[in-house]
Amino acid sequence: MPKSTRSQPPDAPKPSSGEPTRRVVDAVNAAEETWDLEIDVDGRPTPEVPAPTDPWAEPPTHATTLPMGEVPPLVAAATVKPDRPALRRNSTDSGLGAGVPGPSFGGDTDFDATDEHPTLGLRDTSAFESRPRQNIAMLSEPPGQPLGFAFDEGSDAAADALDLVGRQATSLRPAGEPPRNADPLGELRERYALGDFSGALTVAEALLEDDPTNADVQRYAESCRDVLKQMYTARLGSLEQVPMVGVPTEQLRWLTLDHRAGFLLSHVDGVSTLEEILDISGMPHLEAMRIIYELLQQKVILFQ
């Protein structure tokens, strides 16, 4: 089985002229460079599915670390495709199903562990202000992300950014409603082609709710799950590793976790392996892996 091609799929969105769009494409191309290093997509059952061009692999730090002054980020994010609101993520969408919060992938997050507080795993806002590392997609993150992925409230820049995104998101999508698009299948293909697998999975799952028998969408969903699973597996390493809590018990409650992360964290006992924790979580593995990865990124958990 050949590795997934990295060429632009024929039905991928054609970038229009203009600076913001160019940056999106740049980010996509740069991220491609890490594809073979990080993810082995052999065996993915997606013969009819267009190949992704923006895989997650290593978060594309080098490709997306742009000087803050160079990109008016929020405006840029909003003007890339102002008519495609669903491309931006809602705080209640993890790409893993409606109402499941969390970041999406495909280069839309760049999270540097060095930005975190050494003991609490909290974001250090000074690091954010002095050394912006967000790509366009990340800056389109709405507020209220769990697990500390959102910006610190104390940061003016972050607060401004969040406000702008918030208004944009609100005006385009009523709160509590899943992402809608006039051509959801097109959106699914587009997201997939751009490597936004979690976003594509969200759209696919929404479509499957309406028509569970749609074989094409099923294939997309399955492929997204496979790729995401491989991504997390690559990031987490061996599932035989034993995680332990890296934050003192009395400081745990100061973290920004949601109840699912809290639940998984309650199973981290310094004895159970990652695989065991995934088994006992009762959550879909993909979601559990995502949360564990985020906990690891925040140093809330560490490997022995």
Partner: protein
């Protein structure tokens, strides 16, 4: 002499023990715990989980987690106990092809004995890992009230798990055995057994030369530590509801954490006066924030929450003594069994009732398994003089007119035994009579267990009550029950031998044994692979660590430069093998790695 393990196959927890150097010892599992939850689960990915890991997901995956399978083993689907279990279990209980009970997990149907076998297999693996060799023989304990079918089903479970069950013994007998180990006692003892899911009280006579006899036994199969946990959970849920207006029961993840925390707090309160329950991020408030649960519970609170449960056990003890026509003063020793008996309030209640302190010399969680190990060792050692008298766990009898049950061999009769009783016809000119052999204590036949039936024909025609039929029950030393009916005038006779059945056919049993063996082989192979990989990684790390020192030493001498080059080559090849994941390749390099590590160690040690 072949090692025999003793297994306490409990409703909630199981324990395995073995005789070591003449004394019984409990074997800890891989997590270091001496008991293993009797739980089996199948995950979404189809993976089988047994023990602690199954328990930790029991609420979030309730439909596919089997607990308290012991309540179902060997029972008919139509029995009241099974109906009760259906009402209280989240997993799906269905009727088997022979009127037995089956359990459905993720679309696959399992026999109850098959589920229990998974737990027994886990205990077997724990013992094998500890003893470093295969274990094939076991003594398994069952409650004293288990009927023949339940005992047979337990034996079948052992067979499926790859164990030759050389004896099934009663749990209170095992507890008394462990209590009396090394002593020459003649005593009447009460075994008060409050486990995770059941309560049993048994009165035993320990006779001279190690003769044990169960005098009376009773209990409640739906009363145990889980009920105590449930009270703590209720208390926490109500408190949280009052504070935040959120019902934690609606969220399975929250409930799972509550269950774990309640059990932990309950255990801690046996040793401390109060403890804190701290569950951060227990649930989402719905306003994009997570709420925390933090409460302190005192021992007094726990005792007040559970007072009626403790009282229920005392009521059962009182009733059992009355039924056995025994006074409290007849009981010379009280043995506490089951983790719940660590609760100070329970110990106080037992002391108050019997007017004496219970025995503190036995470990409540381990005593039954220890007794089973003692019995196993005694069975293998012909020199041991210990005699365990088997008794009939339930009354044996037949169904008579009006659906009434007539007992012929009473409960707790020592076997072998034989009893007869004369019956007459109930209709005029009756030429045949159907004998339904039953087991149980209820006066109505339909509440008891049907063991078998046969028809005695050729009776002479006569008015009702005139034809006399002699019904004889006989139980031999192996526990085989034979029933015969004889027309006293004509001498016409019919008989059957009652064979206990778990509800599985021989073919089904064979298939299950084969499947379990296959799984076991796979599991061992997988463990072998993992062990090889870990060993290789350990050796690579050690060589890496020693390399700079060895290089330094070699650089200052004229020898050994080739050796370091070779070591590099060995390391590179071993790393490639580990990355490939091929066990064969890894094993090929283990010897070279070991040799290199030994050499490096030697070089470093010999150099001042």
């Amino acid at each position: 002499m072949e090692r025999v393990i003793g297994i306490d196959l409990g409703t909630t927890n199981s324990c395995v023990a073995v005789m070591e150097n003449g004394a019984p010892a409990v074997i800890p599992n891989r997590g270091g715990y001496k008991t293993t939850p009797s739980m089996v689960a199948i995950t979404e990915a189809g993976k089988k989980l047994v023990g602690h890991i199954a328990k930790r997901q029991a609420i979030t995956n309730a439909e596919n987690t089997v607990f308290a399978a012991k309540r179902l083993i060997g029972r008919k689907y139509s029995s009241p106990q099974v109906k009760n279990a259906i009402a209280t279990s989240a997993y799906r209980i269905v009727e088997g092809p022979h009127g037995d009970v089956r359990i459905q997990l993720r679309g696959k149907t399992f026999g109850v004995a098959e589920i229990s076998a998974m737990i027994l297999q886990e205990m077997k693996v724990i013992a094998e890992d500890y003893l470093g060799g295969a274990v094939s023989k076991a003594v398994i304990t069952v409650p004293a009230y288990f009927n023949d079918n339940q005992r047979q089903a337990t034996k079948d479970a052992g067979a499926i798990a790859g164990l030759d069950v050389i004896r099934i013994i009663n749990e209170p007998t095992a507890a008394a055995l462990a209590y009396g180990f090394g002593k020459d006692l003649e005593k009447t003892v009460a075994v008060y057994d409050l486990g995770g899911g059941t309560f049993d009280i048994s009165i035993l006579e320990i006779g001279a030369h190690g003769v044990f006899r169960v005098v009376a036994t009773a209990g409640d199969t739906f009363l145990g530590g889980e009920d105590f946990d449930a009270r703590v959970i209720d208390w926490l849920v109500e408190g949280f509801q009052q504070e935040h207006g959120i019902d934690l029961r609606q969220d399975r993840m929250a409930l799972q954490r509550l269950k774990d925390a309640a059990e932990k707090a309950k255990c801690e309160l046996s040793a401390t006066r109060e403890t804190e329950i701290n569950l951060p991020f227990i649930i989402s408030s719905g306003r994009n924030e997570a709420l925390h649960l933090q409460r302190v519970i005192s021992r007094e609170t726990l005792e007040s929450l559970c007072a009626d449960l403790v009282e229920r056990t005392v009521d059962i003890v009182r009733q059992t003594l009355e039924d056995a026509q025994l006074g409290k003063e007849d009981v010379e020793e009280i043995i506490l069994v089951g983790g719940m008996t660590r609760m100070p309030r329970i110990q106080e209640s037992v002391s108050e009732f019997f007017d004496r302190e219970p025995c503190k010399g036995v470990h409540p969680d381990e005593v039954v398994a220890l007794g089973a190990a003692i019995q196993g060792s005694a069975l293998m050692d012909q020199k041991t003089e210990m005699v365990l008298l088997d008794v009939t766990p339930h009354t044996l009898g037949i169904l008579t007119q009006g659906g009434n049950f007539r007992g012929i061999i009473p409960q707790n009769t020592t076997v072998p035994t034989s009893r007869s009783e004369i019956f007459t016809t109930s209709r005029d000119n009756q030429t045949a009579v159907k004998i339904l052999v039953m087991q149980g204590e209820h006066e109505m036949g339909d509440q008891n267990e049907l063991l078998g039936e046969f028809v005695l024909t050729g009776l002479r025609k006569a008015p009702k009550g005139q034809v006399e039929i002699d019904v004889t029950f006989e139980i031999n030393a192996d526990g085989i029950v034979s029933v015969s009916a004889k027309d006293m005038e004509t001498g016409q006779q019919q008989a059957i031998q009652v064979t206990a059945s778990s509800g599985l056919t021989q073919q089904e049993l064979k298939n299950m044994i084969d499947a379990a063996q296959g799984e076991m082989l796979e599991r061992r192979a997988s463990e072998d692979e993992e062990a090889a990989k870990q060993e290789a990684q350990r050796l690579i790390a050690e060589i890496d660590r020693l390399f700079p020192q060895v290089e330094q030493i070699v650089a200052s001498s004229d020898f050994g430069r080739d050796a370091t080059e070779k070591a590099r080559g060995i390391l590179a090849k071993a790393r490639t093998a580990v990355q490939s994941g091929s066990t064969t390749q890894i094993k090929e390099h283990l010897e070279a790695l070991g040799r290199t590590a030994r050499m490096f160690r030697g070089v470093v040690q010999k150099t001042p």
